[in-house]
């Protein structure tokens, strides 16, 4: 695990959570640096929202400790943890105006009136919701509602922001707008932010570090680019990247000149950076991202190239996705939209094995 730089803002130690006999989180450890934007990424049911609820204090944990700003908050109430939270369904109080929503927590905390007004003014200025203050949530659009929800966390003046899939209820266009706004907000406030999502684009664009979760366990915790380039196992490789990575099953042959062999294909691996110094032999899976496969003249110059037949073409506007077969498995690669490719054409594709990922077939771990 990569240690976060600086003093940890949120620190989770050996956190476990069981619902009856079901282990949702297992001895989970995580340190989040001050001002860091951490994204918890995973498919639904992987425990990422549960982990966030544990940090917020909305779920009682079974074992372990949670520290926020060096203070042990394991048994503290949510309001005493110094957190603000934004929910997927906005969770605005429907009977209150926007102003009422923003001030509810502050009034509950017994803050003086002028202080409440000051904080609301600041938050609504940052989020540009001043014209909406007197409206009820039902009179707001989805994007405005989510902005108010962020404002409710903002006025609390806390150190740690928790986002629970805040953009999942919005349409694609609004989602990308608010994504940028959240990034801007983070740059401006420099608070610690923990962001739960199942959307890899949100994770890659927003995060300082991404924690990819599966089955209540963090699979990989690293910077977005590192996770993208060097996934630690097949699950992470498959989950991140769109279109997803190509996988070819085959055999790894070690020795002086390691090779990957599958159904008439032999890929030289002398440029591949093995995790272990000595390359093992045996069943393995070869993974290469569609965007790392070149075609045509450029391909011929690469360490591995092969002529293949185009099977399906999916135009995507800016480029197109071409489906073909290699080594008995499906292979997709990106091509420029202007390329005059047709189904049935034969084209040379190639890649640099240095950009590939090799996984042990039985365990799925990176070799």
């Amino acid at each position: 695990m990569v240690m976060a730089a600086g003093k940890p803002s949120v620190s989770i130690k050996d956190l476990s959570l069981n619902f009856g006999n079901v282990q949702v989180l297992q001895a989970l450890n995580l340190d989040i640096a001050e001002g860091e934007f951490l994204v918890l990424l995973g498919p639904s049911g992987c425990g990422k929202s549960t982990l966030l609820n544990c940090i917020a204090g909305l779920l009682d944990i079974s074992d372990g400790q949670i520290f926020i700003n060096g203070k042990n908050v394991t048994w503290e109430e949510p309001k005493d943890r110094g957190i603000g939270m934004v929910f997927q369904s906005y969770a605005l109080y429907p009977q209150m105006t926007v102003e009422g929503n923003l001030s509810f927590g502050l009034k509950t905390a017994g803050l003086p009136k002028d202080e409440i007004a000051k904080r609301i003014a600041r938050a609504s200025e940052i989020l540009q919701i001043e014209p909406l203050l007197k409206r009820k949530p039902s009179a707001l659009s989805g994007g405005q509602r989510q902005r108010v929800a962020i404002g409710r966390a903002l006025v609390r003046d806390v150190d740690v922001f928790l986002f629970d899939e805040p953009l999942s209820n919005l349409d694609a266009k609004l989602r990308s707008e608010l994504r940028v706004e959240i990034k801007r907000l983070h740059q401006r406030l420099a608070n610690t932010m923990i962001y739960v999502t199942h959307d890899q684009i949100e994770a890659l664009t927003l995060a300082d570090r991404i924690a990819v979760m599966k089955g209540g366990v963090i699979q990989q915790l690293d910077a977005p680019q590192a996770i993208y380039n060097r996934p630690v196992n097949r699950f992470v490789a498959d989950f991140l990247g769109s279109p997803s990575m190509n996988f070819i099953s085959g055999q790894l042959e070690g020795g002086e000149k390691p090779h990957f062999k599958a159904d008439g294909v032999s890929v030289p691996l002398d440029r591949y950076a093995f995790d272990k110094s000595s390359a093992a032999t045996g069943a393995c899976i070869f993974g290469i991202r569609p965007e790392h496969i070149a075609h045509g003249e450029q391909a011929a110059a690469l360490p591995f190239s092969r002529e293949i037949e185009v099977e399906i073409i999916e135009p995507m506007g800016s480029d197109m996705l071409v489906w073909t077969k290699l080594g008995g498995s499906n292979l997709t690669f990106r091509a420029e939209a202007e390329k005059p490719l047709k189904v049935g054409d034969r084209v040379i594709v190639g890649f640099d094995p240095a950009r590939a990922s090799l996984f042990d077939a039985p365990t799925g771990n990176r070799i």
């Binding site: 909305l58 309001k79 969770a91 009977q95 509950t108």
Partner: protein, 311 residues
């Protein structure tokens, strides 16, 4: 493709594009077989339901000589409000001859505190069961719901003893407590289901904002649940007002609710049967639930449907 599109939009072409034959909305006949069956059935059922009410109103406005003629469906020849006045203020039940007015005020004094107490308790119960999932919540809820299926008759005598022991037997407050207890299972179920339909994240957000058990109840949940409160009020007002069994068991003659008094007026075996007074007394007794329905019918329907629509 582009050529034909431009041709279609030319003004000369649009006028002639419509061909003969069916066009626009499909016409519907007023006296179709379907309509005759539908409205025919509805009218028959409505008459069937409203006829007794009509007989009651008509009879209550007749004098006794006219009633003795036996034409119960004929409208009154001479309209008189005498039976209404008698039913309200002069009809005799046992020793008292001050009519239904005594029972009316007794019923008010029973219904109002019972409704408030039972709804207050049940809404807090439902809120706790729905939002503050404590250990054994499901078991507790099951026990409460089982209570709704136990016949009242089984519990009458034990409750008599209980009330006697705490010294409330025969008093209005004793009856209020009984009504509150028996309203609990169904009302708790009602409120629990409503509060369960409130998004959980709202509750979580309020907790992050620092609101506690009562803070969330009074400031978040209560203002959101007006429809379900109206439903509960209607159920309880009509239920408690119309109750006869508990009223006759747990009160004394001077604290009898209106329904018990009505029974005593109508079923008195001495003297002549004054049908017009009986009818007037019955309508008077049924008036309160009727008014509640008419006044809040719209809200009632909205409350019943509230669970189905996302807030």
């Amino acid at each position: 493709m582009a050529d034909t599109a431009t041709l279609d939009m030319a003004p000369a072409a649009t006028a002639t594009r419509i061909e003969t034959g069916p066009r626009g909305a499909k016409p519907r006949k007023t006296f179709s077989r379907r309509n005759i069956f539908l409205y025919g059935t509805l009218i028959v059922v409505a008459v069937y339901y409203l006829l007794p009410l009509y007989v009651m109103v008509v009879t209550s406005l007749k004098g006794m000589p006219e009633i003795r003629l036996g034409n119960i469906f004929s409208p009154p020849v001479e309209i008189t409000f005498e039976p209404w006045v008698k039913a309200w203020s002069q009809a005799c039940t046992g020793l008292n001859c001050d009519g239904l007015s005594r029972g009316f005020w007794n019923s008010v004094r029973i219904t109002v505190p019972s409704v408030i107490l039972s709804i207050a308790l049940a809404s807090i119960n439902g809120y706790a069961l729905a939002n503050w999932r404590f250990k054994g919540a499901d078991l507790f809820f099951t026990i409460l719901i089982v209570g709704a299926f136990i016949p009242y008759q089984v519990m009458i005598y034990p409750i008599v003893i209980l009330l006697r022991e705490i010294g409330l037997y025969g008093s209005l407050w004793g009856l209020v407590i009984v009504h509150s207890i028996f309203g609990m299972p169904i009302l708790t179920l009602l409120f629990r289901n409503y509060f369960t339909s409130v998004p959980e994240e709202l509750f979580k957000a309020a907790r992050v904002d620092g609101a506690g058990f009562w803070g969330i109840y009074f400031r978040i949940m209560l203002p959101m649940s007006l429809p379900i409160f109206v439903v509960a009020i209607i159920l309880q007002v009509t239920g408690i007002w119309n109750d006869f069994l508990f009223g006759v068991v747990y009160t004394r003659p001077d604290t009898y609710p209106m329904t018990v008094q009505l029974n005593n007026i109508v079923n008195s075996v001495q003297g002549v049967k004054e049908y017009n007074v009986n009818m007037a007394a019955t309508i008077l007794t049924g008036l309160v639930p009727l008014i509640v329905y008419f006044a809040s019918g719209k809200l009632f329907v909205r409350g019943i449907a509230a669970g189905a629509v996302k807030g």
